[in-house]
Amino acid sequence: MEITERREGAVAVLALEGRLDGEAERALVERVAALLDGGLRKIALDCGNLDYVSSAGLRALLLALRRVKSADGALAMGAVRDQVRQVLEMTGFAPHFAIHPRIEDATRALAGPG
């Protein structure tokens, strides 16, 4: 999986491209941890080019979310493809991740008034 980073104001956007599986698991968690260490608290995951997620990928998302929450931050996802969304729904993850139709909606919601 490729992870590329960009900034939209106070929001860090991580664009995930490819497969979020056992090989990519650690990379995502470390990337999120590095953003938090750098003082960022609002993180959006751009999933428009995320093709695949397995249970290892779900574990990475869960660990990333926990880190963000324990730092009093917020995590949102945008542009999640149907099959990835199906996996999030099957495992009860979906309600815990702010999932937006487009990445712009995710960053806007994070940037929001609060």
Partner: protein, 144 residues
């Protein structure tokens, strides 16, 4: 009936090439990327479990993955000669408790159960056989 027999070693590095072969085979069998996604997912989950738990001694073993695509059904079998282990007896994963405290284990078998219509386990000839079958939905047909 179209059939793929693939044998890999019990190392994580061999998983990605196996999943690519599986996806290519499913594409050649005129099924959609959605079919390939589900097949890859259940194969990954089953094979990762075998790699992780079947060979406590750490020795090199073969894992056989068989995919059969018939008129009505996609059937996937994962065969290994590791310690007896029946994934169908793993208790249901916790998918409802608060996300902050939820255990992260058991999601793989949960996904297999959720995606496939039938999941069966047999132990014979010193091998674990995990079979996962699903009726091919109309939308999986490329020509649908």
């Amino acid at each position: 009936m179209k059939r793929l027999d693939a044998t890999i070693g019990n190392t994580p590095e061999e998983l990605a090439p196996l999943l690519e072969r599986a996806a290519a085979f499913i594409g050649e069998a005129a099924l959609s990327p959605a079919a390939a996604f589900e097949a890859q997912l259940v194969i990954e989950e089953a094979v990762v479990n075998v790699i992780r738990y079947a060979f406590p001694g750490g020795e090199r073993h073969d894992i056989v993955v068989r995919i059969e695509i018939g008129e009505r059904e996609m059937r996937i079998e994962v065969i290994d000669d590791g310690v007896p282990f029946d994934p169908t007896r793993v208790p249901p994963a916790d998918v409802t408790s608060p996300i902050e405290s939820r255990p992260v284990g058991g999601l793989g078998i949960h996904l297999i159960r959720s995606m496939m219509d039938q999941v069966g386990y047999h132990r014979y000839d010193g091998h674990n056989h995990l079979t996962m079958a699903k009726t091919i939905p109309p939308e999986w047909r490329k020509d649908a």
